[in-house]
Amino acid sequence: MNKYPVGFFRIVTGTALIIAVVAGSWLFLAYKPPTPWTESERALIHSLWLGNLPPLPEDPGNSAADDPQAATLGHSLFFDTRLSVNGAVSCATCHQPEKRFSDGLEKARALGQSRRNTPSIVGLAYSPWLYWDGRRDSLWSQALSPLEDPKEQGSNRMHIVRLVIEDAYYNNLYQQIFGSVPDISDRSRFPEAAGPDLQTDWNNAWQQMAAVDRELVNTAFTNVGKAIAAYERMLLPSPSRFDEYAEFVIANSKAPGSLFSNDEEKGLRLFVGKARCMECHNGPLFSNFEFHNTGILSFPGDLPDRGRIDGIHEVRADLFNCLGPYSDAQPGQCLELTFARDGVELIAAMKSPSLRNLEGTAPYMHKGQLNTLAEVIDHYNKAPFAMIGHNEAEEPLGLLPFELKQLEVFLNSLAAPVAAEAHWLQSPDNR
């Protein structure tokens, strides 16, 4: 007497067969060896190769941008905590060299907590816009902003200019770069602390100064930013394992198997193909430095961030923008600001960051909403509706779990140290 009902073995065998076929196809898809690169894929890989990076773009607004003395001064200023109101915060507090000039926090923390994630500075000299929302249009105008931000360094321009003039080392360098230092010794004209739109007593002191004296201070304050920018322009990425691999692919020779694993190669194929990453993360820095709404949720407890739609108005109104009186540029050289766009597409749009700075810079996105690269890739795979504005990625990518992993593995191959001599990556001790 058979204790199993009729057909039982047939069902078991059928089920086992289905499982075997599904598992087999899965394994085949996930582990089959990569196919050779097509011509168009090779062209795309070439476009991402760091060897394709154009020369550092000029900064017409900053005549000291490529002055080595200015970089030396900027280097010291970048690490100098005396620039802050409490003497404890420098640019390097948030932009830490060992974390690719970022801080590893969700949102920046200095004197207070900022509203967004600290972006890396590496390679930013190539970006026409600074900050997630592009509210500044040069490295030098950006560098001025945290100095006076109450949540960052909380200082005032009068204090900073005085510090530079009274420090013999700074004073000497400043004169070599910018000519002469302003005479601010008359305390009745130049108070101890002053700056516009800051705490009431500093603001009042600023408003009471003569217009010509305010211009004098603004010019020297601007030069502080220009020196810091000259230093920041030196912070560029070095070739990664991907670039080594790309060199072989571009030359049409087979890359040694030791350079890239199967998964990395497949991740790269997804990156240049159906994962559509290159729509925004294109060029040798893996970024178009443009603004996109990607439907990322706001930080828990925060209202949705309006992003570029506010940033564009702020940069146009900035006294220190490319077209302003403290810029060294001719109006015809300020093309980005002159031809900047408006419009609803900018609602909740944030600047695409370079993917060459992923290592050690988690959490990711403009408010550090996502803790891991896997979460970021999963976000783009799902393409959720935007809370405000419109998610440019209109539909889910539909990538399979092993493909998401392959993308992640590939992105990790972009890790490489900053291409600057070691002494630039630490605080100078020559003051």
Partner: protein, 135 residues
């Protein structure tokens, strides 16, 4: 006999394809407006056009009879239909001589298919030129 016919047919198809390819290449330089009121010759400062680089174009405008059109009002909008977004910049067009115009402030920020609509207004006639690009 049949082989000969097939060969002739194949040659005809081939030459038609060649002619079409040539025509497309010409259209790459000169664009005709929808209602054929205007012709625009486009010359880019960047050749080939690459992404992420601000640049300008020179436009030569002619009427249907091939005469230069000088005092037209020109404006340009554009974007990527596949991605439902516009240009990364707001380009401006200014007159630059007889029948000539300078289009400044173009920067394409993605690879792929772009469409630009150039609106031309002149002497009471309005027409649109559709310029397409594959970057």
């Amino acid at each position: 006999m049949l082989k000969k016919k097939v060969l002739v047919a194949m040659l005809m198809v081939f030459s038609m394809l060649m002619l079409e390819a040539q025509a497309q290449q010409e259209v790459g330089q000169t664009w005709v407006s929808k209602n054929e009121h205007f012709k625009v010759m486009v010359e880019s400062e960047l050749d080939p056009i690459v992404i992420n680089q601000m640049h300008s174009w020179t436009l030569q405008l002619q009427n249907a009879q091939g005469q230069a059109v000088t005092d037209a009002d020109l404006s340009l909008v554009g974007g990527m239909p596949a991605h439902n977004h516009g240009l990364a910049t707001a380009p401006v067009i200014e007159p630059a001589g007889v029948g000539s115009y300078l289009l400044q402030g173009l920067r394409f920020h993605m690879m792929g298919y772009w469409e630009l609509e150039l609106t031309i207004d002149h002497a009471g006639i309005s027409d649109i030129v559709l310029i397409t690009l594959e970057l």
